[in-house]
Subunit: 694 residues, 2 copies
């Protein structure tokens, strides 16, 4: 049941097939669903990989106050872990109540109304873009930590990886998951081994020591209030390790049955692993005394023209030795999982985009599945946005982190608030039900209410902290972007609603058009024009004329001669155009015709070149396109495009309008658009009839 290949005949078809694979039928959508062992790496790579930068940025921020501040680190880390536990529990509840995949957006819009809904959607879209940017920036950082020679190509590497991920994702979710599962498991395994090895070394009495522990750090002198702010800011940076938890809730529909249970289990598994890795890495960072500075020139003794090694790289080289095989495995796995974490966003962003498009908040094109059953437009959009952010921020992780997690906590908070509202409504509704049903419902709702109330209050508190500590460090950009996006969405919604209303059929709509005349626009007498005339004649309009708009009088004279020489069977009208306009004279002619012959629907025939290369369209059709756009503004006029397939189009479409030499038979009129093969096949089906011409 292969699809008709001719239908897919877009221009870059061949390249598309090679990159993306064969198209898939809608029925196959079910087979594309994910088992847990595949869903974990797909949806959890973001949350897990964020331990690669979360502890690092937390220690970096504390270090701004000097080495003494690192004593706060265990407490800050404990707060982050506590928050993670609460968030995972909250999202288990959310998945249970809203398994359709809309996640926080659905919860907020259903329970809190339209505005909170689009705010959450905007926050999530912004955050998906930043997830890609931050993950890739950190991934490139870890690659450069292992291969410092690549430092000059930081931005180019980052952009290249985005493009790679877009291509992989355009192939579809299943094949992507196979590709992504292995590095995620290697990452978790190898970092786990590293943490255990590190602790064993501590127990054996020779704790690992980081190279940077020798560099003295110059801290700023801070007032008491500033100390609190700095600790809170370190907490905010540490919270970047929490990002990606929501990914599972947006992807429940991609799980195998039972979807909810599998999604909840995956979420819990992910939470557990994330806590172990986060705590372990923070502890090892403190034990090995990694000194990591925002401005490497503040590290006394460090040549600050060189790139700083990432926390992960420093721990790995302290535990296993710099340049050892395990060091490179850790770095490769970290880089791979970070780059692939960007993939989480390429699952979430297009899905959210499609949901928004379905609800009318985004262009409908985002809800169109491509050949490979994925929402291609959303993926491409996300890729472009991420490349833009990476180029503007020069793939600098510490600057990008400042923008990150605001969006996450906006959507966390509104989602949790929505859940609180949801459970309260459920408790209220339970009163009207039968006792047995009600008590079960009430029990679910009560535990949900407790958990999500805790989640809401904690995430709101964190949102406030993050806002205060990061606003002036660049987060204002996110605070600008979210309402702008939200307003855009609300605008799109209103627009679609208005148009829907405008074009709705009502009972006063009747039929009544009359009259039927055709104008074939002729520039020079060439085969495409002949074909258009031929078709216009075949359509047997009440009246058919050829119209030439003469910007140069000589052209008109030449055309007149050609017309007579070839004995074209319809009249030729020539109108002059001193202003080099092409549509105005046509409109004037139509007005005159209608004044004389009464109203008529006018069909304007325009030859249209079909070409085989993208660049050919620069060389053709420009005037025809402009004409068509202008003529469509004249009332009662339709445009009929008569395609002419240039030879070059055969390269791609396997057909052309020009008869193939040698297939012309003497005495038989040449049919311009003849397709010999299909004419034969039809003839075979129809044993008798008039001589064929199509």
């Amino acid at each position: 049941m292969a699809p008709d290949s001719r239908d897919n005949a877009d221009a870059p078809q061949v390249a598309k097939r090679i990159l993306l694979g064969e198209p898939l039928s809608t029925e196959k959508a079910n087979e594309q669903l994910l088992p847990k062992r595949m869903a974990l790496p797909i949806f959890a790579s973001d949350a897990l990989s964020s331990v690669a930068y979360g502890p690092q940025e937390m220690l970096l921020t504390l270090g701004l106050g000097g080495l003494a501040f690192l004593t706060f680190a265990p407490w800050v880390a404990a707060a982050v872990v506590l928050l993670l536990v609460v968030i995972v529990l909250s999202y288990r509840k959310l998945i249970q109540a809203y398994p359709s995949g809309g996640g926080d957006y659905e919860v907020a819009s259903k329970n809190l109304g339209e505005i909170p809904g689009v705010v959450v959607a905007s926050a999530l879209l912004v955050d998906y873009i930043l997830t890609v940017s931050v993950s890739i920036a950190s991934g490139v950082d870890n690659i450069i930590s292992a291969v410092p020679q690549l430092n000059p190509w930081r931005v180019e590497l980052a952009v290249g990886f985005v493009i790679l991920i877009v291509v992989v994702n355009l192939r579809g979710v299943r094949e992507a998951s196979t590709f992504f599962a292995i590095p995620t498991y290697i990452f978790v395994g190898s970092v786990g081994v590293m943490i255990i090895t590190g602790f064993v070394q501590v127990l054996l009495g020779h704790p690992p020591v980081a190279e940077s522990s020798h560099y003295e750090m110059q801290g700023e002198h801070l007032a008491d209030a500033a100390v609190i702010l700095l600790v809170l800011r370190a907490f905010s940076s540490g919270c970047s390790a929490l990002t990606g938890v929501e990914a599972v809730s947006n992807g429940v529909q991609a799980f195998r049955i039972p979807k909810i249970g599998n999604a909840q289990k995956t979420l819990a598994m992910m939470g557990g692993i994330a806590i172990l890795l986060f705590s372990g890495l923070t502890a090892l960072g403190l034990i090995t005394r990694v000194h990591y500075a925002e401005n490497p020139c503040n590290l006394v003794g460090f040549d600050c023209r060189l790139p700083q090694q990432s926390l992960m790289a420093q721990i790995a080289s302290a535990v296993f030795g710099n340049g050892s095989l395990p060091f490179f495995i850790i770095q490769a796995a970290t880089a791979a999982v970070l780059l692939l974490a960007a993939n989480t966003a390429f699952n979430g962003f297009p899905l959210l985009g499609a949901v928004l498009a379905r609800d009318g908040y985004a262009p409908k094109a985002l809800n169109t599945r491509g050949d490979r059953l994925v929402f291609s437009n959303g993926m491409i959009l996300l890729g472009i946005a991420a490349v833009g952010v990476l180029v503007v921020f020069q793939a600098n992780l510490t600057n990008l982190i400042q923008l990150y997690i605001i969006g996450v906590f906006v959507s966390f908070s509104l989602g949790q608030l929505g859940m609180v509202r949801h459970w309260r409504r459920m408790i209220r509704d339970a009163r009207e039900k039968s006792p047995e049903e009600a008590s079960a419902d009430r029990r679910t709702a009560r535990t949900g209410l407790v958990i999500n109330s805790l989640g809401a209050s904690m995430t709101i508190a964190v949102l406030v902290i993050v806002t205060i500590t990061k606003f002036t460090h660049g987060a204002w950009m996110v605070f600008l972007a979210i309402p702008v996006l939200a307003l855009l969405m609300a605008g799109v919604k209103r627009y679609y609603r208005d148009v829907e209303h405008e074009i709705a059929v009502n009972d006063t709509t009747h039929f009544g058009s009359e009259g039927d005349m055709a104008i074939v626009l002729v520039n020079r007498l060439q085969k495409p024009v002949i074909k258009a005339i031929d078709y216009a004649i075949a359509a047997r309009h009440e009246k058919t004329v050829a119209l030439h708009v003469a910007a140069n009088p000589e052209d008109g004279v030449q055309l007149q001669k050609d017309w007579q020489h070839h004995r074209i069977p319809i009249p030729l009208v020539i109108v002059e155009s001193p202003f080099r306009h092409y549509a105005a004279p046509v409109e004037a002619y139509i007005k005159k015709y209608r004044a004389k012959h009464g109203p008529a629907v006018v069909t304007v025939y325009l030859p249209q070149y079909i070409v085989g290369h993208w660049w050919e369209s620069i060389l053709h059709n420009r005037r025809a396109r402009r004409m068509a756009n202008q003529l469509m503004l004249i009332h009662g006029v339709t445009i009929t495009l008569v395609p002419w397939l240039l030879d070059s189009s055969e390269l791609i479409y396997g057909r052309r309008s020009r008869p193939v030499p040698g297939q012309q038979r003497a005495g038989r009129p040449v049919v311009l658009y003849a397709d010999a093969a299909s004419a034969h096949s039809r003839r075979a089906q129809r044993p008798a009839g008039p001589p064929e011409q199509d």
Copy 2:
């Protein structure tokens, strides 16, 4: 005789009128011609303004060897002046022989063949881009010399000026010339006064001294061969003062009658002024002992984080005092004339583009005059290219100069060679004519041959020098760009020729299409679809069906209900599409129809939304456009676009498809595309007839 305003109804119409002024008729082209006093500033501003950077770059290059090398400067300057005289004389001859405005391109292609022709054209196109870049970079340099605070916005200023010049030029050549004449004359006048004042100060015994004369310059130690190379390189840089001489030869057709005489006089005038300014500035630069270094950090005692003042600014401040009124006048005039010199290229590039398009070497769109009689597309193209170059080279004059003048001397050389060939042919042809005629011709040809042979040998020699001295300094990019462009042009030519041949009508072309059926594609039943059905019915095809491609079966069921409810008078066919393809099922249906009913030309009706804002097109028509592109590949199929003007289109086009509320009369069927006003006007013209509906 105002043009029908409705015809110009492009979307950004209002803004276009404000920026560009009212459209002009072709007849007005003659009135747009230039008197000499206006042609001089327009076509000579490039050549004249180049004295602002020519002497500076010449002295800078010599200075690379140390201050002692400046003693070579008078000799190098003398060589440049001599070359300028020869080139001016050569171009007077070229104008005489080829006044049509094709310049070197025309001469080379007519006399040397196609390949030299396109090479010259490519060289000229590259050079027009560099003229804009170099002139604007130097202009911004001179602005920053007067107002050093602007230094951080060097690139932004440069890009802003390009955009300004593009807008001014899109308004058309006449208004541009008025705008440009004044600064050019002020420049020539004020620099002239400065040179005289400087020499008077020398005669009075207190010669002006430049501020930078106190800075010691560190020269490289050079071997003898390197000395020669350095002097030749300084000569190459000085030759940048020669650029722009060819501009007049490309613009002869813009002169008033007698075109040739006026163009020659303008050229001579320009040459004389250029020689005076060039010699004067070089002399004053040496007298005031201006020290100008490629790397300002080589100036001992100069704070090299600051911008160096341009040669012009240093001389002006030596002669008149830094910060004096005349200093600012000189700087303002220099900057203005340099920025306006870029305008020369905005005359030359689009004209050359149009000539190339006419000859089939460039896309035809370059030969389309805009509303204001100028070749708008060429201007926009040049603007984009110049902005690109300025951004890539960060508006750094010394780096840009390295790329410059290669193109000029490629076209100079080939143009002069072509002229030599031309005169030789003329002498040969003269032998076959009557004695009197022949002797006059021969005399002209002989002087021409002598002058252009001299020109050819000198320009070729300079081309060799320039190539040797500048190739490794960046000129290789130009050497790459010229053949690439030339190949592109040759390719475009061949392409157009092939297509021309492919679509030419020959005697075997006959008419023969038969059959006529219409398919109205229906997604949901809305007014635009009703309008399409209405028109399809009015066209009275042999058979008309509505076709719905159902990706979701439910949609089909709903449509069926609506169809019956509204009693649509044509049959509805629903086909399923499991692969979410829209074109393949239509093709299958057409095949089936043809198998049953015989061959037929099939007209597919597609509603097309006409919108009022550019962003609306993101929200509409995407599937329709894709459909149309795919269906046009099916043989024997034409696409009829039935426009539906959304309310928003009224903003721009003053009309819409929805009947205006209140204008509906009871009992009269609602005509969807009714335009009440024009219907009334037509009714007034036709006293009797059937009830109107259009």
